[in-house]
Subunit: 141 residues, 2 copies
């Protein structure tokens, strides 16, 4: 069983957090947990796409932007999240679409975990031009 | 509308991430996105409980431990997450239970977002003794 652990120690107004991959500080004047949720979502799928396109031997640069709009009522969940993949390089459109598709339908755990409560939209921008826009389907099974 | 944004810029094997509250680095040798998901979940509810108990004027220390076990198949979502609230101080059990209850049923957005796909268990330990254990109900509506 793959078990991950985070230990959050209260220190005044903040919490010092230990995770296997490092340390972060959250709370007043430090990192905001609900913003880290966007980092988890964006990081998970960005790393998938990076891995898949590299495996296909493409040379590229990428910037992934994740925007979430929160509901006004408690709990203030993200009602909608838009993930924009900006890819620059000599990469065919179908390769980027395939990489993003594999991430959002099969590999990315973070988007899968929130897809039942959050609408997830994705946009692919290749060399400055929007080439695709779609919706992630909620996780089944 | 409350919109939050994360910008992830690929830099070699890692991504430099900008969020309104600061910067983090994710990827190979840096922070792991799925571990940050646990930080988001733990941080969200830990800050709620901190806020509520302070509002009740209690003097306490707290450590929150979040453990998640991931599924073996893709997408490797957390099937189960256990949140342990370790509270030390002169705080009545009912106050801690009330603070945790308010967070998990009403305020905490991160746990609400994943509760449809992940079983969330909570444990309250007060001055070294386990006083309560329960299950968060999935978000309704």
């Amino acid at each position: 069983m793959d078990i991950k652990r985070a230990v959050l120690r209260m220190e005044g107004d903040t919490f010092n957090v230990e995770i296997p991959s490092g340390n972060v500080r959250i709370g007043k004047g430090a990192l905001a947990p609900m913003e880290l949720m966007l980092v988890a979502v964006g990081g998970c799928t960005a790393m998938d796409v990076q891995y898949i396109l590299r495996k296909m031997r493409y040379d590229f640069q990428m910037e992934v932007v994740v925007e979430g709009s929160r509901r006004k009522e408690h709990p203030k969940i993200y009602e909608r999240i838009t993930i924009t993949y900006n890819v620059e390089g000599d990469v065919p459109q179908r390769a980027v679409e395939r990489a993003v598709g594999l991430s959002l339908t099969r590999y990315c755990s973070a988007t899968a975990m929130i897809s039942a409560t959050t609408d997830i939209e994705y946009v692919i921008v290749l060399n400055g031009q929007e080439v695709k826009r779609g919706q992630k389907k909620p996780l089944e099974g």
